[in-house]
C-alpha cells in the first residue's frame, strides 16, 4: 500500500516546474496569451525534448512506457503553470492510436508522436452544442465512417498547427486524417482559453485511415481525457489558491498585509480545503485507469466533474481575493479563470458526467 508519488514521478513534476520557471514564466505565458499564435514551437520542442511527447507511449514505440498516472502528473504541472502547449490533444492522439490502432498503425505513428516529428490532436465534438454534452461521447458521433470523411468538427485543440488528427466517427470509431489531405480545412476559432486555441475542422471527401478497434477502447480514451482534464484542473485550482495566498501576504491595506484580516484568511482556508483533498481524487482516477479497470470509468467521470467544478469556483474566489486587480487582463488569475472554463466544458460539463455516474450507480 503506497498511495503517493514515486521519486521518479516527483522528479518528472519538478523537472516540468523548473522548465516552466525558466522557459515559460508568467510573463511569457501572458505574452503568448495575448498573441495570436496557436503554437509556440520553441516551447513545444523543449517539452518534447523533456519527453512530454511520449510519456505513456510504450518503449517499443519510442516512448517512456509510463502510465496514465504519469501523464496526469505532467498535466497537473502544466495546469499549474499554464504553459501554452498542445499537450492535451497530442497526448490523446497518442493514446487513441495506442488503444485502437493496429500494430502497423502503432508502428507508423507512435514513434513520430513520441519524437514530436508529428503533432497530433483530436476532433470529437461536431458543433458548438449548448448543453456541454454534444459530441464528446463516442456514442454521440455521427460523422459517417469509411475511407473518406465529409463533415465538420468543432473544438480541435491547437488544430491549426497539428499534423495528424484523430477524428471520432459514428459507431464509436476513430479515424486518422492528415493535415494537407484534400478537402481538409482547419480554421482557428480562438476560444476562451488562449493558452489552448481551438480550431474548427471541416472535411470534404477527405481520405482517412480508420483505426482498427472501436467501441470499448474508445470509451477508455474518453476516460483518459477526463482524467487529464481533472489533473489539469487540480493543478490550476491549486495555483489559484497559492496565488491568492501570496497576494494576501504582500498586499497591504490599513497598514497591514490583508492576510491579517480573518475574513479573508478564512476564505483562503476554505479555498484550500476545497481543493487539496482532490489531489487524491485525480490520483485515484488515474490509478484506477491503470490498475483497477472496473472502477475506471466511474472514477474518471467523478474526478472530472468534481475537480473542474471546484476549479471554476476557486478561480472566481481568486478574482475576489485579489480585489480590483483580480478583474484585470493583466492579472494572471484571468488566465486560470479561462483555463477553468475550458477544463469544465471540454469533454462535457459536470452535470453531464454526474448524470452518467448516477446511471453507472444504477440509480
Amino acid at each position: 500500500m503506497n498511495f503517493d508519488t514515486s521519486e521518479e514521478q516527483d522528479l518528472l513534476q519538478d523537472t516540468l516546474r523548473q522548465f516552466a520557471a525558466q522557459e515559460c514564466p508568467p510573463n511569457r505565458v501572458r505574452a503568448l496569451f495575448d498573441g495570436d499564435e496557436a503554437l509556440d514551437l520553441d516551447i513545444w520542442q523543449k517539452l518534447i525534448e523533456l519527453g512530454m511527447g511520449g510519456i505513456a507511449v510504450p518503449d517499443e514505440y519510442g516512448g517512456a512506457g509510463l502510465e496514465l498516472l504519469d501523464l496526469a502528473l505532467a498535466a497537473e504541472v502544466l495546469g499549474e503553470t499554464a504553459v501554452p502547449c498542445p499537450f492535451l490533444g497530442h497526448s490523446l492522439a497518442g493514446l487513441a492510436i495506442q488503444l485502437c490502432g493496429s500494430e502497423l498503425q502503432r508502428k507508423t505513428w507512435l514513434p513520430k508522436l513520441a519524437s514530436g516529428e508529428v503533432l497530433g490532436s483530436v476532433a470529437f465534438a461536431e458543433s458548438a452544442s449548448e448543453d456541454g454534452a454534444g459530441g464528446w461521447q463516442p456514442e454521440d458521433w455521427t460523422l459517417a465512417a469509411g475511407d473518406r470523411l465529409t463533415g465538420t468538427k468543432a473544438f480541435v485543440p491547437v488544430g491549426t498547427r497539428s499534423d495528424l488528427i484523430v477524428v471520432g466517427t459514428a459507431g464509436a470509431g476513430l479515424a486518422l486524417v492528415e493535415v494537407g489531405a484534400p478537402g481538409l480545412e482547419l480554421t482557428d476559432a480562438g476560444g476562451i482559453d488562449r493558452t489552448r486555441h481551438l480550431a474548427n475542422l471541416s472535411l470534404r471527401n477527405t481520405p482517412c485511415e480508420p483505426l482498427a478497434k472501436s467501441g470499448p477502447p474508445v470509451g477508455r480514451l474518453r476516460d483518459a481525457a477526463l482524467v487529464l482534464l481533472a489533473a489539469d484542473a487540480f493543478g490550476g485550482a491549486s495555483k489559484c489558491v497559492s496565488m491568492s495566498v501570496e497576494y494576501a501576504k504582500t498586499r497591504e491595506q490599513f497598514g497591514v498585509t490583508i492576510g491579517h484580516f480573518q475574513a479573508l484568511k478564512h476564505q483562503l482556508a476554505n479555498m484550500a480545503t476545497e481543493v487539496e483533498p482532490s489531489r487524491a481524487l485525480y490520483w485515484y482516477a488515474a490509478h484506477a485507469y491503470d490498475h483497477i479497470q472496473e472502477e475506471s470509468e466511474r472514477a474518471a467521470a467523478l474526478a472530472k466533474s468534481h475537480i473542474t467544478s471546484q476549479y471554476m469556483q476557486v478561480a472566481r474566489d481568486s478574482v475576489e481575493a485579489h480585489g480590483g486587480i483580480g478583474f484585470t487582463w493583466e492579472c494572471d488569475v484571468q488566465i486560470y479563470f479561462k483555463r477553468a472554463m475550458f477544463d469544465r466544458a471540454f469533454f462535457g460539463a459536470p452535470a453531464v458526467h454526474r448524470e452518467r455516474i448516477a446511471q453507472m450507480s444504477g440509480w
Partner: protein, 400 residues
C-alpha cells in the same frame, strides 16, 4: 400597505404622460436634427416642466421641485415607458452634482451644475489608487499649492470613462503632516490640462471600462477645491453614499431571471431541454426567491425614502444582495451554457436580457460588480458594524 398610487399621484402620472405624448418622440421639424440634439431639446422642455433635475435649484439650471420620491418614481416609470430621455446618466449628475450642491462654492455651482445635468460636460472620478483600494484614505497622490495653482503628481486607478471625460473630481493628499483622513482635499480638474496620461485598463472579459490615470505636474486653479483644505475625506463621503445607491439597483437583477429562463428553454441537458430538468427548475425558482425579495425590498426603500425615514439594515445590504444574486445567476448560466463557454464572449455588456455567449461575459461581469464600489468583504464589515452594532475592526480603526 398599498402598491398602487393615490388619486393625486395618478393625476400626476396622467400629467406626465400627456407631456410625453406631446413632446416625445419629436414630431415634424424636430425630427430633422441629430439624436443628441433631439434629446437635449427634449430635456430642456422636461426640466422646464419640472420633470427632470428636480432637486436642482433653478438658478443652476434645474427645475427646483419639492422632494417627492413617488413623483420621481412615476416620472421614471412614464419616461421609461415612452422611451424618452431621462436624467443624464453618469457620475457627474449622480455624484458630483449632489456634492457641489451640498459643499461647493457659489461660482462652482454656477459653472458646473448646469452643463453637467444637461450632459454638456462629462466627469470622471479620481479616488482609488494602486495602493489604496479598500483603504481609500491611505491615498498618496499629492497636490501642492504653488502660487495660485495646485500641482498634482501621482496615479489613480479604476477611473471609469477617463478617456471620455472633460473633468475629474479627485482626492489628493494636500496636508502630508496631518493624520491620514485629515490630509486629503477634494479638487476639480480639467482633463485637458497637460501632464495627464490616461491608459485603458483591460478587464478579464476583454473590455476596457476602466483606466489608470497618471499625473505629472498637472495644474488646476487654487480655488478649484470643494470644501476646505484637509476636508476632502468628509466631502467625498457625501458622494460615496450616492454611488452605493447607484450600484445596488434591483432592475438589472430582475432581467437575469428572464435571460436564464430563455437560455434554459434553448439549451439541452442530459437529453431534455434545460428547463425540463428538475435541478435547473429548482435552482431557477430558488434564484427567483432572492430576486423577488430584492425587488420588493426596493419598494420598502422607496416608501421609507418617501416618508423621509431611515431604511436601516436593508439599505446597507442592497449592494451585497445584488452582488450575491449576480453570482448565483452566473453559476446557473454557466451550467446551462455547456460548450458555448469554450467560446470567447463579446466583451460588451448588453442592455437588455442576456442571451447566448453574453452569459460568458456575464459570468465574468458578475465578479466586477462585487469589486466595484466596495468589495463584498467591505460591505460585510459595514453591515456587521454599522448595521448589527458589532465591534469595529481593530486594524481599520487603528488606522483612522
Amino acid at each position: 400597505m398599498d402598491l398602487s398610487y393615490s388619486e393625486q399621484y395618478e393625476a400626476y402620472r396622467a400629467e406626465v404622460a400627456s407631456f410625453l405624448a406631446a413632446n416625445w418622440p419629436p414630431q415634424g421639424a424636430e425630427q430633422e436634427v441629430s439624436q443628441v440634439e433631439q434629446a437635449s431639446r427634449f430635456r430642456a422642455k422636461a426640466i422646464e416642466a419640472g420633470y427632470l433635475a428636480r432637486a436642482i435649484p433653478k438658478r443652476y439650471g434645474g427645475s427646483e421641485q419639492d422632494a417627492d420620491v413617488l413623483k420621481a418614481q412615476i416620472i421614471r416609470e412614464e419616461f421609461a415607458r415612452a422611451h424618452a430621455p431621462g436624467e443624464v446618466a453618469g457620475i457627474g449628475p449622480g455624484m458630483l452634482v449632489p456634492t457641489l450642491l451640498e459643499r461647493g462654492e457659489e461660482w462652482q455651482k454656477e459653472k458646473f451644475v448646469g452643463p453637467t445635468i444637461r450632459g454638456e460636460i462629462v466627469w470622471c472620478q479620481g479616488y482609488s489608487e494602486p495602493g489604496s483600494g479598500s483603504d481609500l484614505a491611505s491615498l498618496q497622490t499629492k497636490a501642492e499649492l504653488v502660487g495660485d495653482e495646485w500641482v498634482i503628481n501621482g496615479q489613480k486607478i479604476w477611473t471609469s470613462g477617463a478617456h471620455r471625460a472633460d473633468y475629474m473630481f479627485i482626492l489628493c493628499r494636500t496636508e502630508p503632516d496631518q493624520p491620514k483622513h485629515a490630509g486629503i482635499s477634494y479638487l476639480l480638474l480639467d482633463m485637458k490640462r497637460p501632464g495627464i496620461e490616461v491608459r485603458p485598463l483591460k478587464q478579464m472579459n476583454g473590455a476596457a471600462d476602466f483606466n489608470e490615470v497618471f499625473f505629472d505636474d498637472v495644474r488646476t486653479p487654487a480655488d478649484w477645491i470643494v470644501g476646505r483644505r484637509g476636508e476632502g475625506w468628509l466631502v467625498s463621503r457625501t458622494t460615496l453614499k450616492h454611488e452605493r445607491n447607484m450600484i445596488g439597483n434591483a432592475s438589472r437583477t430582475g432581467m437575469l431571471l428572464g435571460g436564464l429562463v430563455n437560455l434554459a428553454r434553448r439549451t439541452t441537458r442530459n437529453g431534455k431541454r434545460g428547463i425540463e430538468d428538475a435541478d435547473v427548475r429548482q435552482r431557477l425558482v430558488e434564484l427567483e426567491g432572492y430576486i423577488r425579495a430584492h425587488e420588493y425590498s426596493s419598494y420598502r426603500l422607496l416608501t421609507k425614502a418617501a416618508k423621509q425615514q431611515d431604511a436601516g439594515l436593508i439599505q446597507m445590504m442592497n449592494k451585497l444582495n445584488g452582488t450575491n444574486i449576480g453570482h448565483r445567476a452566473a453559476q446557473i448560466g454557466i451550467d446551462l451554457l455547456g460548450d458555448q463557454s469554450l467560446v470567447a464572449p463579446n466583451p460588451q455588456r448588453t442592455v437588455g436580457p442576456i442571451e447566448g455567449t453574453a452569459w460568458v461575459n456575464q459570468f465574468m461581469w458578475s465578479l466586477g460588480t462585487s469589486l466595484a464600489g466596495g468589495t463584498s468583504n467591505i460591505q460585510r464589515n459595514v453591515i456587521g458594524e454599522r448595521g448589527l452594532g458589532l465591534p469595529r475592526d481593530e486594524a481599520a480603526q487603528r488606522s483612522k
